[in-house]
Symmetry: C2
Subunit: 126 residues, 2 copies
């Protein structure tokens, strides 16, 4: 007995997964943080980015602090005061981490697709 004998319409099934990069004591990076950084980049504001993600400002700040505390140079820089009432920008380091993570994510998707394909192929071969 193989899983493809057990499932109704086994060809409709697929593996889905999520990946995160963890430091010793804390999550460092993952899909949520990619989104947060990209929204900070687009809006110039942690607050605006948090709102779009329907996340509290506190939570967004904690994510930024968590990242900044685990890197040699900050991933997000904030500016206080001024006409625009402060703001935030992401650094070259943040862009590099995003690029790295997206490439990893693509390899991971290929891995998941190959696991799905192998499962279905095994069922069809019998």
């Amino acid at each position: 007995m193989h899983i493809t004998d057990i499932l109704k319409n086994p060809n409709d099934f697929k593996f889905i997964g999520k990946l995160w990069l963890y430091g010793k004591d804390d999550r460092f990076f993952g899909p949520g943080r990619v989104e947060l950084l990209e929204l900070i980049d687009q809006t110039g504001s942690i607050n605006k980015a948090a709102k779009i993600m329907e996340m509290s400002y506190k939570k967004a700040w904690e994510m930024v602090n968590s990242m900044n505390s685990q890197t040699n140079k900050p991933m997000v820089i904030t500016h206080t005061g001024g006409k625009a009432g402060g703001g935030a920008e992401i650094t070259a380091e943040a862009r590099e981490v995003i690029t790295f993570f997206k490439a990893l994510h693509q390899r991971f998707q290929a891995y998941l697709e190959s696991e799905t394909k192998n499962m279905i192929a095994f069922g069809n071969k019998k």
Copy 2:
């Protein structure tokens, strides 16, 4: 610039991930369902299993129904009434799916370790 130049103590970092098997319209299987099935097997009861997982009985039932509705034969069989006041058991199909998923999970862990190793090795090589 590589991610290992950006991270403090890059050797302490690692990838962590989660995998699920999805049908067309619904999740079919994942780490939570492995645990639920194994606890039903150990306790003979969906209710007891749910309590151990600190999950509502309703939620556990929904997970069981979701699995049972996506397979040709049920993954969990319930018995009503009798001296023991009913009970539940997992089927050979459930055991097969658990075995399949655990083997997949092992391959996935190896995949994650190789991604971690490649990241660190790239940093050390420079």
